[in-house]
């Protein structure tokens, strides 16, 4: 028995070593330097950099300092972006999953095709969206002009509309995976339930509300929490669509932190912001694990 236990450790050992090297040590290091005044001048010999206590953290939450202002703005932006991307994406995904759950000619084909956005590499997808959004030579404005929805071209990639441009592109990229998971959930619902409900006089809405949604509830929970967490990782879409300088209307934590590190060379501040972001995400993760536990017990 003891041998067997030891074998278990041997099997996970390589993965554990890799994770210690890549996750644990860098994380500890990151937390450490967030308490230092580490800049381009002190990076050569980082141990010598002066400690500055929780100054970096205070700055991040100080609404008067530049960093604090930017950080709050980036958090507001990411929440705004996440809210619309996740909710609109979810409704599209649910609608399509319900359609795909019905038998029709070409269903397998359609199911394969809708996965295309998901498997398209981020860099490719956001690059062609960037082209689509071009105000003069892009196809989106051209189509909107032809239909007559707008009278003059919209500037999608500059100013106020930037956040909507990135929301649209992200919805296109993100909904298929959600749809696929919902579809997998739908397929576990026994058909007999609907038949029984119909005999009892339930209408379509009641069937949907009391059978479909209650069966999907655990899947929806998981999807929502995963999406909310992934949302804070968002970086690729912003940097590909807008380049290095995303502008104030689409500044999100990740782009801000990258700028703080590689334009302003303020590594200590950068680390403090990352740590705050991490704590925020860990809080959500705890909720996620709690919900997951509950599900496992159900």
């Amino acid at each position: 028995m003891k041998n067997v236990r030891l074998l278990g450790y041997i099997f996970i050992l390589p993965a554990v070593i890799a994770m210690i090297l890549v996750h644990i040590i860098p994380m500890a290091w990151g937390i450490l330097i967030s308490f230092k005044d580490l800049t381009i001048r002190t990076i050569r010999n980082w141990q010598e950099a002066p400690w500055c206590g929780i100054d970096n953290y205070i700055k991040a939450f100080n609404p008067v300092s530049t960093v604090g202002q930017r950080f709050m703005r980036s958090l507001r932006n990411i929440v705004f972006y996440g809210f619309f991307t996740i909710s609109i994406g979810f409704f599209i995904a649910l609608g399509v999953a319900l359609l795909l759950n019905k038998p029709f000619i070409g269903r397998t084909f359609v199911r394969g095709v809708i996965l295309i956005p998901y498997i398209t590499p981020d860099s490719v997808a956001y690059n062609f969206w960037r082209f689509i959004f071009q105000s003069r030579i892009g196809i989106l404005n051209e189509m909107l002009l032809r239909i007559g929805i707008i009278q003059e071209p919209i500037m999608w990639l500059v100013g106020r509309n930037t956040i909507w441009a990135v929301i649209i592109a992200s919805i296109w990229k993100g909904w298929p995976l959600t749809s696929l998971m919902l579809l997998a959930g739908l397929q576990t619902i026994p058909v007999e339930l609907y038949e029984a409900a119909r005999i009892d006089g339930a209408n379509a809405w009641q069937c949907f509300r009391y059978i479909t949604l209650s069966y999907l509830k655990p899947v929806i929970k998981t999807i929502m929490i995963m999406n909310i967490l992934w949302n804070f990782h968002a970086y690729n879409q912003f940097v590909v669509l807008f380049g290095e300088n995303v502008g104030i209307h689409a500044e999100v934590p990740n782009t801000l932190i990258m700028r703080e590190a590689f334009d302003n060379y303020n590594y200590g501040q950068e680390s403090a912001l990352s740590v705050i972001l991490m704590l925020l995400m860990l809080t959500i993760t705890v909720v996620y694990l709690y919900v997951f536990r509950q599900r496992a017990e159900e």
Partner: protein
């Protein structure tokens, strides 16, 4: 299932068509633009079908940006990541799936939690860690293939392990025991019996790691320069402050999509099953 009336049927298919147009429209625009001349893209009103059909973009895309080299770099890095993740991940997933040991639950929770850590937190420590390794052991890390493969493997591992664990849990344990009785040791049992049975799960995991490495931008930006630059970064170089070569960029985008589409078409079933089980079982 109730039968649909013809009118319902019409709307049903109408919605399906709208969905397909929404999904495929941007793709059609990419492909059609890759065959347009620069003059048409810059000078005329945009159309869905090229007015003059040209292959120039495909011919010239490699002279503007060494995209074929970046493509090769990405192939090396993504394949390396895939293989490393497969080997280390299979061992770990098998360990969690088959053995009860102290700390197993904790390990699974750590795996779940690490998926949620923001990559951005690691950027500067990584930079410093790589520099430290180079200074101490004389092993170059930044701007090397192995440095990036090492990074991506570790980032791909947590989700890969959890995904494969789910799959291995569905393979009966009696099979291992039978192999042990027949004289295999644990590693042989894994290698000869379990791995052949777990092929679909392994395919899903491998593709996941490959696509992850093919997509990554943040770390590629910091840890590579011209020698090891990946295609994800290369695509951005077609647009500079002086000139926007949209046609060539779209051609390069088509080029960059090929491996992923090929891999996906070959393993569609496994990927879908793997994704769904990884996602719905946590």
């Amino acid at each position: 299932m109730s039968k649909r009336t013809p009118i319902q049927n019409f709307f049903f298919y109408l919605i399906i068509v709208i969905v397909l147009l929404f999904v495929l429209g941007p793709y059609a625009w990419m492909i059609s633009s890759s065959f347009k001349t620069a003059v048409e893209i810059q000078g005329m009103r945009p159309t869905w079908i090229p007015q003059t059909f040209t292959l120039n973009n495909y011919v010239e895309m490699n002279t503007t940006v060494p995209i074929v080299k970046y493509f090769t770099n990405s192939i090396i890095i993504s394949t390396g990541t895939m293989l490393a993740a497969l080997i280390i991940g299979t061992l770990a997933a098998y360990g969690i799936s088959r053995f009860k040991f102290w700390g197993r639950e904790l390990y699974v929770i750590v795996l779940m939690a690490t998926q949620m850590l923001p990559g951005i937190l690691f950027v500067i420590p990584y930079f410093m860690l790589f520099k430290w390794i180079t200074d101490t052991f004389g092993l170059p890390m930044t701007n090397t293939f192995h440095g990036l493969i090492f990074t991506y493997t570790s980032f791909a591992l947590p989700f890969s392990i959890l995904m494969l664990r789910n799959y291995l849990d569905s393979v009966p344990k009696d099979i291992d025991e039978q192999a042990l009785i027949d004289g295999c040791n644990r590693f042989q049992a894994l290698y000869r019996v379990i791995i052949p049975l777990a092929k679909p799960g392994l395919a899903a995991m491998g593709i996941y790691a490959f696509i992850m490495a093919w997509n990554e931008i943040l770390f590629a930006k910091i840890l590579t320069s011209t020698k090891t630059r990946t295609i994800a970064l290369g695509l951005l170089q077609y647009i500079s402050q002086h000139q926007a070569r949209w046609g060539q960029m779209m051609a390069a985008c088509v080029f960059a999509t090929i491996p992923v589409i090929v891999a996906f078409t070959a393993f569609q079933k496994q990927i879908v099953a793997g994704l769904v089980s990884g996602a719905t079982k946590g």
